[in-house]
């Protein structure tokens, strides 16, 4: 699962919908893989305004990456700065979680990830 996708995931449990702690989910015992993907600058520019930068900083620290700048780059900066584009592409698209767990900060529910597929099936009493 891409780090980009993790930035959009929330806890699926009903009671967590109203809680602020249910986002972002916290990776636990994560095994990472780098997958070589072709860079798609237009997509990154399109997606950037929707990325929750605070959550992305938390996630990247939790995954053991160097700390990200405090402010997200603006679209103009991204378009002009090749290096920044490469870095973001590497973090958001190429870094993938293959094994591990995602833990909700509110209810503590653990979503298992196996072979890159996260299991979001819930027992019916939590829906």
């Amino acid at each position: 699962m891409k780090v980009l996708t993790l930035n959009f995931l929330t806890c699926a449990v009903k009671d967590c919908k109203s809680s602020n702690n249910s986002f972002p989910l916290h990776p636990k015992d994560a095994e990472l893989v780098y997958d070589d993907l072709e860079i798609n600058p237009q997509l990154l520019v399109n997606v950037l305004p929707r990325v929750d930068w605070v959550a992305l900083r938390t996630t990247s620290t939790e995954l053991g990456f160097p700390e990200l700048p405090e402010q997200p780059p603006t679209v103009e900066e991204l378009e002009s700065d090749e290096k920044m584009l490469q870095d973001l592409h590497k973090l958001l698209m190429e870094t993938q979680i293959m094994e591990g767990k995602l833990v909700c900060g509110n209810c503590g529910h653990e979503y298992a990830i196996r072979e890159g597929i996260a299991n979001f099936l819930l027992p019916s009493h939590l829906v």
Partner: protein, 281 residues
């Protein structure tokens, strides 16, 4: 024709054998591909986008999304969710590019608000009309799904869901659930009245009027060839309540229709209906 929806749950029906059959059948592949192309046409995306594929299965439609050339607005990045582990297993072996989730659409869509530019779903949402256990109902599953989908799409986003309704009641049930969730909804039928009819539910999230077009399906299909628009919605206030004067001809005809629907015997409407009798003296 037998419907697998009638006999088993989606995750039980698509076991290893069925999933493999589904993915290797060239007939199914062709149909899926043409439906995905049609859905993309309806979505009308101009630049690379983030797309949710509901009921992605083995990634047959996702593949088309990632292989789209830059001239056609691609390649898109997609996230797929499916309830069948076997299907996802096949997707893994085929090495698809999208992120996969093992999730039941009837339990909602676990993404934060405004995540996706668009959503597609090919031959999946009719499964929502089945509830396998006593603690869920089709209506509940439909509303959870559409509410979740509505929230996870960005403003102005679109969703196109191709599905196989069992009958008109099911078609209506799905559409009204989508409307209830807040979508602007419309149905597009390709090859209507034939065996190969394909039903597309086209959903828009408010503010879709990007280029002055209508924000609902009539705006979506505008300019498409061979599409007839049948708009059943009430036009303006003319049919609104309180407008018809009691005792008028229109009022009488309306009442007669009402009674007819109830199965009562009603005199045929003629030019004399609702007229005053002449003065006797």
């Amino acid at each position: 024709m037998s419907r697998p929806e009638d006999t088993l749950a989606a995750d039980v029906h698509y076991d290893d054998v069925e999933a493999r059959k589904y993915t290797t059948s060239s007939r199914i592949k062709n149909i899926q591909a043409s439906m995905t192309q049609r859905a993309l046409e309806l979505l009308d995306l101009s630049s690379p986008s983030l797309i949710l594929d509901v009921g992605c299965g083995s990634g047959l439609s996702g593949e088309i999304l990632s292989d789209l050339s830059p001239e056609e607005g691609g390649p898109h990045v997609w996230v797929g969710m499916d309830v069948s582990g076997s299907m996802l297993d096949v997707a893994l072996q085929r090495d698809v590019e999208g992120d996969l989730f093992l999730a039941d659409m009837g339990q909602g869509v676990p993404f934060r608000a405004g995540t996706f530019d668009a959503a597609i779903s090919i031959s999946a949402i009719q499964w929502l009309c089945n509830a396998e256990s006593s603690d869920t109902s089709p209506a509940g599953r439909l509303s959870r799904f559409f509410n979740g989908l509505y929230a996870s799409l960005k403003r102005g986003g679109r969703a196109v869901c191709q599905f196989y309704p069992k009958n008109d009641a099911q078609k209506k049930m799905i559409t009204s659930a989508a409307v209830k969730a807040g979508f602007g909804a419309g149905l597009l039928e390709d090859d209507p009245e034939t065996k190969n009819v394909k039903v597309y539910l086209v959903l828009t999230v408010g503010g879709g009027a990007t280029s002055g077009k209508g924000s609902d399906i009539t705006g979506v299909v505008e300019g498409m060839e061979g599409v007839d628009v049948l708009d059943n919605r009430r036009k303006g206030k003319s049919a609104g309540r309180g407008e018809i004067k009691k005792g008028s001809k229109i009022w009488i005809i309306k009442k007669k229709e009402q009674m007819e629907r109830k199965g009562k015997i009603v005199k045929a409407t003629s030019k004399f209906t609702g007229r005053k009798r002449r003065v006797q003296f």
